[in-house]
């Protein structure tokens, strides 16, 4: 058996329990296994271990709720080309590109080994954003449009290069993350767990609760302290509030991009109401300070629960009116339908995750496939899917998920009995030489945190995966052969994170 089998609720795994096998065995197994759509790789990374380079793979079995861990190793300076899995399963491209960029590992016959994010600790310092050769096509009737290299609104690195034939996009190449933040490295540079929590909250500002929860869950697994069920109910409510707020905000943003004022102002007002609810709970509109490992500083009291229920039902009512309005506006439908299509097969092939994948009909929902928190226990999660994979499907995903989240919050809080919640624990000892991972479904999709501890129980490696990492490629595919003027709504329908890529 080349895998150690565990699941998303189990505690940390001792490193010695994770089999170390030949790359050939893993290659052959994944080559076959990934053809089945129930399997996908949640994380695949390399980390130096004494003189060796150790590779870990977190493989998810969506059908059986299993998480399968395996590893292989090579000498640090060994120059052996590994046969590339990306060549067969393009979904793995981000992982192999990261490994190649950081450790100079060669992947044989990899289709396009372009740098993932130009990190400060990359091997080849000569490769920079300034001399990056964007893909180009020659032709008298073609022209290139460059957008970026810094986003004009959010001031984050993102260089978009379009190759266009008149108004039509032939190809879009996206280069991100080249102002490397080094978040993963920061996790290992401090032992202060409060600082690490704050760092997790800052991974992507729009997913503060999701990333903080993923961090907290990882640490709890390493401490062997499982949070009690009420704390998980609180976290689920916070996660669903975040999902509601972001989906409503994106409904407004999509309306704004097609100059539909009514949808825009109504959604903006509702979004404010949602994040203000979070603020009334924990003092921060984005839920910063709410999620802490092994406890909480902002326990949910009966009054706060009642306030959240009241606000959420009001938001639910008003938002469903907005949804009806959008569905019945021909001018909006003509903009959103049949625009920016990513077919199911394509989404599956490139390994899309989250609501964007579900909009194309791909079954990807950690809440269903690898339940955590209150999902699968207090909540019977019903994963919503669409089939067309166009902008309208992604918008409808948001609309349906907001209403669903509102129902979940109502359902959880209706039977909620406040109990004594412990204060956060930043000191508990972590299990030495262990690996802990945490998977959860943020509003954008699958978030995966993996921590590996050393012999003294310190975090030696911390790996974060934001769903944007996979889905940026889906955006590039969505705009092919669309009009360039439809790029903004395609982009907004995914609403991917720049900083989530730049870790």
């Amino acid at each position: 058996m080349i895998y150690h089998i565990t699941d998303n609720r189990a505690s940390a795994v001792a490193l010695k329990d994770i089999p170390e096998v030949d790359y050939a065995a893993i290659y052959n197994d994944l080559k076959e296994r990934l053809c089945d759509e129930h399997y996908h790789v949640a994380h695949y990374f390399a980390t130096p271990e004494s003189s060796r380079l150790k590779f870990y793979i977190v493989l998810l079995d969506d059908k059986e709720q299993r998480v399968m861990l395996t590893s292989f190793a090579m000498e640090y300076y060994e120059e052996v080309a590994l046969p590339s899995l990306t060549a067969i399963h393009p979904a793995l491209h981000v992982f192999e590109r990261e490994i190649a960029e950081l450790y100079n590992v060669e992947f044989d016959s990899m289709p396009w080994n372009k740098p993932l994010r130009f990190p400060f600790n990359r091997r080849n310092r000569n490769s920079t954003m300034d001399n990056y050769p964007f893909y180009s096509i020659d032709g008298d009737s073609l022209h290139e449009v460059n957008v970026g290299p810094i986003h004009a609104g959010i001031i984050e690195p993102g260089a978009f290069r379009f190759v266009c034939n008149g108004e039509n996009v032939l190809h879009l190449e996206i280069a991100l993350g080249y102002q490397h933040r080094g978040v993963e490295h920061e996790f290992t540079s401090t032992d202060n767990r409060l600082r690490q929590t704050l760092l997790a909250e800052g991974i992507a500002g729009d997913s503060a609760v999701s990333h903080a929860t993923a961090y907290a869950a990882t640490i709890e697994k390493l401490c062997g302290k499982s949070a009690d069920s009420n704390l998980w109910v609180e976290r689920t409510v916070a996660l669903e509030l975040e999902r509601m707020a972001m989906h409503i905000a994106d409904t407004g943003a999509l309306s704004m991009d097609v100059a539909y004022q009514l949808g825009q102002v109504a959604s903006e007002a509702l979004r404010t109401m949602t994040i203000n609810t979070t603020q009334a709970w924990c003092g921060n509109r984005f839920g910063k300070g709410l999620i802490r490992p092994c406890g909480s500083n902002k326990p949910l009291t009966a009054e706060k629960a009642a306030m959240i229920r009241e606000n959420v039902s009001e938001i639910r009512h008003r938002y469903s009116e907005v949804v009806d309005d959008i569905k019945s506006s021909p001018t909006l439908l003509s903009r959103f339908e049949q625009c920016g299509i990513v077919p199911k097969a394509e989404m599956q092939r490139i390994g899309g995750v989250g609501m964007a994948a579900r909009a194309s009909g791909v079954k990807r929902d950690i809440r269903l496939s690898h339940p955590y928190a209150a999902y699968g226990s207090q909540i019977e999660h019903n994963s919503i899917r669409q089939s067309d994979g166009d902008v309208m499907s992604r918008l409808m995903m948001r609309c349906s998920e907001v209403l669903q989240s509102a129902d979940y919050i109502e359902q959880l809080l209706a039977s909620y009995k406040p109990t004594e919640i412990s204060r956060p624990d930043y000191e508990a000892a972590l299990a030495p030489e262990s690996l802990a991972f945490s998977l959860l479904e943020g509003w954008r999709g699958e978030i995966c945190h993996v921590a590996i501890t050393d012999a003294e129980g310190k975090i030696a490696t911390y790996k974060v995966k934001d769903p944007s990492l996979h889905n940026w490629l889906a955006l590039a595919i969505a705009v092919r052969s669309e009009g360039i003027s439809d790029f903004p709504i395609c982009n907004k329908s995914f609403n991917l994170s720049y900083c989530g890529h730049d870790l």
Partner: protein, 304 residues
Amino acid sequence: MGIALNTLLMIVVAIAIPGVINRTRATLAGRKGLPFTQHLRNVGLLLRKGSVYSTTTTALFRIAPAVYLGAAIVAMLFMPVADLYPLISFEGDMICFAYTLALARVAIILAAMDTGSSFEGMGAAREALYGALIEPALMIGFATLAMFCGYTSFADIFAHEQSFNLHLTIVMFLIAYLFITIAFVESGRVPVDDPRTHLELTMIHEVMCLDYSGVDMGMIHIAGWLKTACFSMIAANAIAATCCFHWWFAVPLAILLTGLSIGIVESTQARNKLVRNTTFIVTISALAALIFFIGFLLQADINI
């Protein structure tokens, strides 16, 4: 005296329309919104600023805003306000009016190409295409007026057709509708263009002015207001000619017709997919042709 009042009223219309649009939008959105005169303050601010020029641009780029504004002012001077008389008027001035505005368009398109930016090149291509497509609508609309009234000068057309008759009323209302639709396209409003968008890739008019700043930008804004006022005034004159041909009726009508219709459309509907704009504009031309034939049949008293 009449001429001075005429010019003054045109300026009032030009200034009031953007204010009415903004107030309508704010009211329909349930927001407090901008004050009525906010656009004046913004342009006032721009006019007090200097301009910054890209080093890749030439003199063409610097002249363009002046040509653009100059052409818009000249076009405005052709326009009568109901019973008042415009400053410039001669046989065939409606043709001159149309091509003065075309000159403005050419100037700004050339200036956009001059910057060498890929965004502005795209904007210029779009503006040129839509400008060419809207021209038949404009010319057929003028032709209908000329055929129906027998004059080719704005002042003569409207001044000589004030008696109430059913045929005239039908044609004039259709003409009013046509020119308000043309005003949507010419002033770059939803559903053709979105003056508020921040997305360069979707812009048409705004993207051509990306490199302009300060005084130049202010001049472009003012020229835009004047253009809208001209089309709005044609529509208002057409309606006024059928019922109450006085300047005090035509001026509020011109402001409200365009201000409210643009405000309402911008509040309640999304803009077109860019490829659909072509169909939208060609449809306006088709509508113009239809109005021409209706006018022709009515004038010849042919009953079908």
